[in-house]
């Protein structure tokens, strides 16, 4: 009997502790959202070279550079930024619960997502493309894929699109793009498909330099926006202003060249840099 009571007590105290922890984090999110004091929390990818990559305590990539610029325009200097990892599946939740103030994590603007969050921007128009080995000239676009082995990430939009549109393709799905790149270099698969920005980031990595190339025939349009809490028009407008200023000042082009340029990636000039959508 005594043991059971002690057990119940322990369980109750653990429960209380976890509740307390929840309360704390909610409060932090609230004060951060106010703009003054506290730190400005930005959600990015931690594992996407060229876009959002965490190496030790350094954060690099195009998303990171844009985020820094926007944050500065909003009045938060670099030391005030707290980077938060925003995996694809958690982005809506992070914004809804106020755990981040904004998200720049290859976050495509879609109508379904607009039901949960609001978007500022877009700040970049990417497209689904193919990454192949540099010496492979047999794949020139999505139509020459029949019979080839293609790799993408489980459940991703890119993987679904390939399955629907090109049923003659054999598709290997892995948990992350890094595994696809490893399989591609080892000649296990013939191509890797996802947004061209992500592909360019991998092709630009030191260990793959010269071994991989982006085909350059995008077959979809992904409009990367800045995810913010639903209905925050004021913040949306401020971010749009900051993005416009970034493009006008040439900083935007600099960020593209620095992060995606090394792989010989060409930005689609007809679409980029994009004009921000009206805020709602």
């Amino acid at each position: 009997m005594k043991i059971r009571q002690i057990g119940a007590l322990a369980a109750a105290s653990v429960l209380a502790l976890s509740l307390a922890a929840c309360g704390d984090s909610a409060k932090d999110g609230g004060s951060g959202g106010g703009g003054g004091g506290g730190s400005f929390k930005i959600g990015i990818k931690f594992d996407q070279p060229g876009l959002g990559l965490k190496e030790g305590n350094d954060y690099t990539g195009f998303d990171v550079d844009v985020a820094k610029y926007v944050a500065k325009e909003l009045g938060h200097d670099e030391g005030d930024i707290q980077w938060v990892q925003a995996p694809s599946a958690q982005r809506e939740t992070l914004l809804k619960t106020g755990q981040v103030n904004m998200i720049l994590a290859t976050y495509s603007i879609t109508d379904k997502r607009k039901a949960d969050v609001s978007f500022a921007g877009p700040y970049f128009i990417a497209g689904q493309d193919l990454l192949v080995r540099a010496d492979d000239s047999s794949i020139t676009g999505p139509d020459s894929l029949t019979g080839k082995k293609l790799c993408s990430v489980t459940g991703s939009t890119s993987a679904q699109k390939v399955k629907d549109k090109y049923p003659g393709v054999q598709l290997q799905e892995f948990g992350t793009y890094s595994e696809c790149v490893a399989a591609l270099v080892a000649k296990g698969v013939d191509a890797l498909t996802t947004d061209n920005t992500i592909l360019a980031g991998y092709a630009a990595q030191d260990q793959y330099k010269g071994k991989l190339k982006v085909v350059g025939k995008p077959f979809s349009e992904e409009r990367y926006g800045v995810g913010i809490k639903k209905g925050d028009v004021e913040l949306c407008k401020k971010i749009d202003d900051a993005l416009t200023k970034m493009v006008d000042s040439g900083e935007w082009q600099k960020a593209v060249d620095a992060n995606l340029g090394p792989a010989g990636f060409q930005v689609d000039k007809a679409l980029n840099p994009p004009k921000p959508d009206p805020c709602s």
Binding site: S88, A89, Q90, R91, E92, T93, K112, R113, A115, D116, K149, T154, G155, S156, T157, A159, Q160, Q170, L171, Q172, E173, F174, G175, E179, A182, A183, A186, K187, G188, V189
Partner: protein
């Protein structure tokens, strides 16, 4: 919740059917491998014991994700050993093999604990009436060991069913990968989590109850 069910209902059923298939074949393989390993671990031959022990120590609690990725990425794409020409089939077969090999180590330990419930005197008696080691295991020890290890085997099976979700890192047929797909399309929500959590509860809860009552009914009364 309703709109997700109406859009993805058939997909969800198909995905859970794949989860069941992975669990069934993986569980079958694990039972066979685990039994062999358990027999090796209690055999009188030192080399066999060493092999059995090494197998358990290597595979028990090696990260399952690592084994999954290693199988398809390492063995198929880098070393070139395929289990099927078709990419999807290959990944599914590897997933079954990895689930079997990984859980075989746990099955081995469960059965070995069952062997320990059989009094040593029975093995000695069996040997003294002239049964070989194989006959002793088959006729005397293992039947009692299995009955004694039903409860831990049930726990291993339940863990195995839940661990099939790890296969999502190499295949896209079973429940966890469909969940990723739905979250990608619809945005993360509690409803999606609830649907899949409920699916696994439906799969595992009756098993837990069933194994508990089986273990009570079949236990060797001593």
């Amino acid at each position: 919740m309703g709109d997700i069910l109406s859009t993805y209902g058939p997909d969800i059923l198909r995905a859970f059917w794949w989860t069941i298939k992975l669990s069934f074949f993986g569980g079958l393989g694990a039972l066979v491998l685990g039994t062999i390993a358990a027999v090796m671990r209690v055999s009188p031959v030192a080399v066999m014991r060493f092999i059995g022990t090494s197998y358990v120590n290597i595979f028990r609690n090696t990260p399952l994700t690592l084994l999954m990725v290693m199988s398809v990425l390492g063995i198929t794409y880098i070393l070139g050993v395929s289990l099927s020409q078709d990419i999807t089939q290959n990944a599914i077969r590897w997933a079954i093999v990895v689930i079997a090999v990984y859980h075989g180590a746990f099955v081995c330990e469960a059965i070995r604990s069952g062997v320990n419930t059989v009094p040593a005197g029975q093995a000695e008696a069996a040997r003294s009436v002239g049964l070989t080691f194989g006959q002793t295991m088959r006729e005397v020890i293992l039947p009692q060991a299995f009955r004694g290890s039903i409860a831990p085997l049930g726990s291993v099976l339940i863990a195995l069913i839940k661990n099939t979700t790890v296969a999502a890192v190499i295949v896209s047929a079973e429940a966890a990968s469909l969940m990723q797909k739905i979250i990608e399309n619809e945005g993360g929500s509690f409803a999606i989590f609830a649907i899949f959590a409920l699916g696994f509860v439906i799969l595992t809860l009756p098993l837990g109850v069933g194994f508990t009552s089986l273990s009570r009914r079949l236990a060797v009364k001593r």
